[in-house]
Symmetry: C2
Subunit: 142 residues, 2 copies
Amino acid sequence: MPKSRTANAPLSRAEARILEQCWTLGTCSVREILDSLSEDERVAYTTVQTLVHRLEQKGAVRRVKKIGNAQLFEPVLGRHEYRRGVVRELLQLFGGSPRLLVSNLLESGTITLKDLKALQDAARTATGDSARRKGRRGRRHV
Amino acid sequence: MPKSRTANAPLSRAEARILEQCWTLGTCSVREILDSLSEDERVAYTTVQTLVHRLEQKGAVRRVKKIGNAQLFEPVLGRHEYRRGVVRELLQLFGGSPRLLVSNLLESGTITLKDLKALQDAARTATGDSARRKGRRGRRHV
DNA sequence: CTTTGCCTACTACAGGTGTAGTAGCATCAC
DNA sequence: GTGATGCTACTACACCTGTAGTAGGCAAAG
């Protein structure tokens, strides 16, 4: 039977979409998330609410404070960890071989040799360069 | 609401697992699929049967002939197409940027620069070599 | 203080998914 | 032919997911 909706259970498509908005918005309320959705993704307020609730159950977000009668949430699971997990999932499809995966990208023309080259250069400088970039992007708290 | 179980609808995890066995086995029966599953994946005969049935509804396999009273199935959806689809799905997570995806693989140490290098070489010879490789890998029919 | 409005906690429900049971027909070994 | 076996077609069912409605509470506006 399908997975239990407890801590670090896998996120569904819709849940991930909401979490994504949380990443963009930082600490935010249900309404803010709703408003941040594009026209064609708009759903009912309660739908977002339910999804946020489920995300909370799965430990992907947590409520941090209450302002007035509104609850503010904040992502716990980071974009990076999440992506890592999903990619790991995907890799199983390729027998755990990331090379096969990239190879697939190449064959289907999704990525080009030029792209790979660029990535290599970027990676080389990032790793071998000074020390270790720790700031990542400009995390404006909110 | 979730997707309809009609032609080329997305495959669920379990369905994909079964299809995978079909790829390995080639034309095969429900029992053969069941028997080919490893110890810890073993499920009831009827479970496999149901999954094969759903795969059929989704157009991923088709019944080719009947031997005795047993039905033989054959994959319609190829491993390659399937993978391509899943990767495309995943890419949306990375804003459609395959570079970000590979970048993630690098950062998490899932793939190395050496791997990329090897892939590039392989790709270069395959593409730029003679004319156009049309056989891909040794596609032994079945 | 009452009204108005947004917020939250439940509840709901149809369709998907994972897993399996049952009934009945087709075959094969006698 | 007859019984043993295995196969297929239904049926079942709990849990997940996507989406939303409802009731009731807090708080700002008047």
